[in-house]
């Protein structure tokens, strides 16, 4: 037995109990099939190396219409869609994570193996093989054949091979492999019909054949257990022979063909230019998140604000209406506002990944990341964390070593996610001197870098004190550099965003709603004051440009504490307020009174809720969406602790809150995903406790320390 580190092949295939019913319904599949229930439609699985063109083929066959299906209790997701380009052969097509051998080397490879043997038993397997890497990719094909799968080989990237002056005799290959082989370019539809026919033939042949069951778990276990070095050697000896027999030398091989890729890498991995290009790419990605996303975020914010205002003016005032408007619609708004940032970051990353560049990036940063206890493969998960920690933690599945994977997941919350941006922007605007907006921008960059540095520090410290880290491996294939297929990148971006909405979105909306209820019960009956403006707050104040906020003139805000509007009175007597008062001894050392305390608690639903909670607690009385930021800022500069003239929001307090948000883990959705990806509540609980506890202690230390030094 040669178990992989961390992945015992005997454990690779879990018992199939309960596998089968998806927790989300494949609505599009049912609609498209028309022929009986989706359960009886044949399942065609696409299997192969990550860079073989498999996902492009999947998009081609499903027309980019697919669902990601989740299984209850698992974070494993499969992309399944109806076979749109198989005319006359209704079927479901499933994409799988990249696989090089049926003996998984990492968690995402294990997911594929599970799919083939346990969760979904495909009727036909289409093995996608890159014509330039025949022996390596046929290795998997041979394994699949030995385990009795119904195979069709799709041979891709023949054009690349032709440019090197070589070719492959597909018919001869099909003879030698004893299974159909079809050369196909996944970027155009030409051969899709032929592929469909071959798949259908194999399916019918498979149904007719009796005896041996395909994808048998027991057979897999003995196969995996019996894989020896001699066997591998034997496979490759046979494959080398096959490769030799099917190779075709084109007459006019252009001299130096295929050298283009090597030249590109010489630049991309150049000690000076390579590093410069890498830093430039990171810079472009991050700045695009900010400036490109801003107009869209303002648009969405404005739209939700409009809906909320319309609801409140159109319907008679009541607690229920406020619940729906501010609580529900507002809650949804806080989630939707981040969609542009998430879409942009994932599009950029998807584009770079499909181009092949991210692999170079991972190779580049492997050594620095190893120095702090991580792995070059941690690069993509960490980068994703800047959009949202949830898909980032899921991306950590590509890290083979369990310890490094968990460490990466542990560090991810320190990569400041999109939700912190409105908080940072508001608070930075407060302390940025007027007329010097560039300081705010600089400070924001500094905050993001600080998160990075902090992450590195935490990672180093944890690694120093850890034992039993297992064997760290890198071994990364650098795929051929190529222009990504736009449709594929767009489809994957859409699905990642959908993942965010499903996993984080729902939780955030529920908790926001809950918090709204907490801050608005018990409802207060007040004699209605004629013409008193109802205090209400748009979902998230449009606060993404510190420059804009800081340079706007201070607007006369609501009257000082005392004169009640209905909402403020309700909130100040609510359960949340009682909690705020209760924890005031804890929040005081941070520099916040009970109102700030309630806002901080609200931040635990989702960080951006902090801003709207602040507006609520400190009473912004106008309904107009515009100028809300300015009103909040000027309000913040006036607010005093009740009964005193001492200002609540001082430089030290604000810096303290910024520090708190940088470190604290204020997102229950993240906690849930951390538990799922690391495999335990203990991990997630420790993560939550460590970050939140440390955030509190450091914030108190900062605020008190600054005050001791004479800072306001």
């Amino acid at each position: 037995m040669h178990p992989r580190p961390d992945l015992n092949p005997a454990q690779a295939v879990p018992t199939a109990g309960g596998a089968g019913s998806a927790s989300t319904t494949d609505v599009s599949v049912n609609a498209a099939s028309g022929a009986g229930s989706s359960g009886s439609e044949p399942l065609v699985a696409l299997v192969g190396s990550a860079n073989s063109g498999k996902t492009t083929l999947f998009n081609l066959l499903t027309g980019s219409h697919y669902n990601t299906v989740n299984y209850p209790g698992a974070t494993v997701e499969f992309a399944i869609g109806p076979g749109k380009n198989f005319p006359g052969f209704p079927c479901r097509v499933m994409d799988t994570p990249g696989l090089t051998s049926l003996i998984p080397a990492s968690l995402d490879e294990k997911v594929t193996v599970d799919a083939l043997f346990a969760k979904h038993r495909p009727d036909v397997v289409v093995a996608v093989v890159d014509a330039n890497q025949l022996s390596r990719h046929l290795y998997l094909v041979k394994q699949l054949q030995d385990l009795g799968f119904n195979l069709v080989v799709a041979l891709t990237m023949s054009d690349l091979l032709q440019r090197k002056g070589r070719g492959i005799d597909a018919r001869k290959l099909s003879e030698l492999l004893e299974c159909p082989v079809i050369p196909i370019d996944p970027r155009n539809k030409d051969k899709a019909g032929e592929l469909g026919r071959l798949v259908e033939e194999r399916w019918l042949a498979g149904r007719a054949a009796t005896g041996r069951r395909m994808g048998d778990e027991a057979e897999y276990r003995s196969f995996a257990g019996g894989m020896t070095e001699d066997r591998v050697h034997g496979y490759y000896a046979a494959l080398d022979e096959i490769e030799r027999l099917v190779a075709v030398r084109e007459a006019d091989a252009p001299h130096g063909a295929g050298a283009g890729g090597a030249t590109a890498d010489r630049i991309l991995l150049h000690p000076v230019y390579g590093l410069a290009i890498f830093l430039a790419a990171m810079f472009v990605i991050f700045t695009s998140i900010f400036w490109m996303a801003a107009p869209f975020m303002d648009l969405i914010d404005g739209a939700f604000g409009w809906v909320i205002a319309a609801l409140k003016h159109g319907l008679p005032q009541s607690w229920i209406v406020d619940l729906i408007a501010d609580g529900a619609v507002g809650g949804v708004g806080t989630v939707m506002v981040f969609l542009p940032q998430i879409l942009i970051l994932f599009f950029a990353m998807g584009y770079l990944e499909d181009s092949g560049y991210l692999a170079r990036g991972a190779a580049l940063v492997d050594k620095p990341l190893s120095k702090i206890g991580l792995n070059g493969k941690s690069f993509v998960p960490l980068l994703s964390g800047y959009a949202c920690a949830i898909p980032a933690m899921m991306a950590a599945r590509t890290i083979p070593n369990r310890y490094e994977r968990n460490l990466t997941i542990f560090i991810i919350p320190l990569m400041s996610c999109s939700a912190r941006l409105p908080v940072y922007t508001l608070l930075l605007a407060f302390i940025t001197p007027h007329g010097k907006p560039w300081i705010g921008g600089l400070a924001l960059t500094g905050l993001y870098l600080a998160g990075l540095v902090l992450g590195a520090a935490v990672s180093t410290v944890i690694s120093k004190f850890s034992r039993n880290k297992g064997i760290s491996g890198f071994i990364l294939e650098l795929p051929a550099l190529r222009l990504p297929v736009l449709r594929v990148v767009v489809a994957s971006t859409y699905h990642k965003a959908e993942q965010y909405l499903r996993k984080a979105g729902l939780t955030i909306v529920c908790i926001s709603l809950g918090l709204w209820i907490l801050t608005h019960t018990p409802p207060v009956e007040m004699p209605s004051v004629a013409a008193a403006p109802i205090a209400s707050v748009a979902a998230v104040p449009p606060l993404r440009d510190p420059a804009r906020a800081a340079s706007a003139p201070a607007v006369a805000s609501a009257p000082a504490d005392g004169s009640g509007t209905r909402e403020y009175v309700t909130v100040s007597r609510s359960y949340a307020a009682r909690i705020g008062h209760f924890i005031e001894p804890i929040t005081r050392p941070m520099g916040l009174d009970w109102r700030g305390g309630v806002a901080m608690i609200s931040g635990f639903a989702a960080r951006e809720v902090f801003v709207s909670a602040m507006a609520l607690m400190y009473r912004i009385d106008e309904t107009k969406g515009d100028g809300l930021a300015d009103r909040l800022l000027s309000r913040m500069s006036e607010v005093t602790f009740e009964g005193t003239h001492e200002k609540v929001f001082t430089v030290s307090t604000v810096l303290g809150v910024i520090l708190f948000f940088m470190i604290a883990l204020q997102c229950f959705s993240t906690v849930a995903v951390a538990k799922a990806e690391s495999g335990g509540w203990k991990f997630a609980a420790v993560q939550l406790a460590v970050y939140t506890g440390a955030a509190y202690l450091l914030t108190v230390a900062l605020v008190q320390g600054l005050r001791a030094l004479g800072v306001e």
């Binding site: 040669h2 178990p3 992989r4 580190p5 090089t100 051998s101 003996i103 080397a105 890159d130 330039n132 890497q133 025949l134 022996s135 390596r136 290795y139 894989m227 020896t228 070095e229 001699d230 591998v232 050697h233 490759y236 000896a237 080398d240 890729g261 090597a262 890498d265 010489r266 991995l269 150049h270 000690p271 000076v272 390579g274 590093l275 692999a359 190779a363 580049l364 492997d366 050594k367 620095p368 190893s370 070059g376 064997i471 491996g473 890198f474 071994i475 990364l476 294939e477 650098l478 795929p479 051929a480």
Partner: protein, 95 residues
């Protein structure tokens, strides 16, 4: 069961038992290539490397280093693969 040869990883360049053994992959110069003669690593790693194509008899070339010196990029069986020096040390090459 196959006999697993569990040796200490060699220092770069050392020539162990005979002329056919060759040198460690790490000692190749940029652009230099050879044929893999053996893979010496602990069982799981060795199996993994072999499954990826690092099989005795395969042609391998050292393409280029990376900016920080580690990993190095090698050409094997039609593709480029990044290997850390600690991983490349496990592979012996006949030039």
């Amino acid at each position: 069961m196959v006999k697993i040869i569990n040796r200490e990883p060699m220092a770069a360049g050392q020539d162990p038992s005979g002329p056919e053994e060759g040198v460690s992959l790490v000692s190749l110069k940029r652009g230099e290539g050879g044929t893999i003669s053996r893979v010496t690593a602990e069982p799981a790693m060795k199996l993994h490397l072999m499954e990826l194509g690092f099989v005795p008899g395969s042609a391998i070339t050292f393409l280029m280093p990376t900016p920080f010196g580690d990993p190095n990029i090698y050409a094997l069986r039609g593709t480029s693969i990044a290997l850390r020096k600690s991983e490349a040390e496990c592979i012996r090459v006949r030039i």
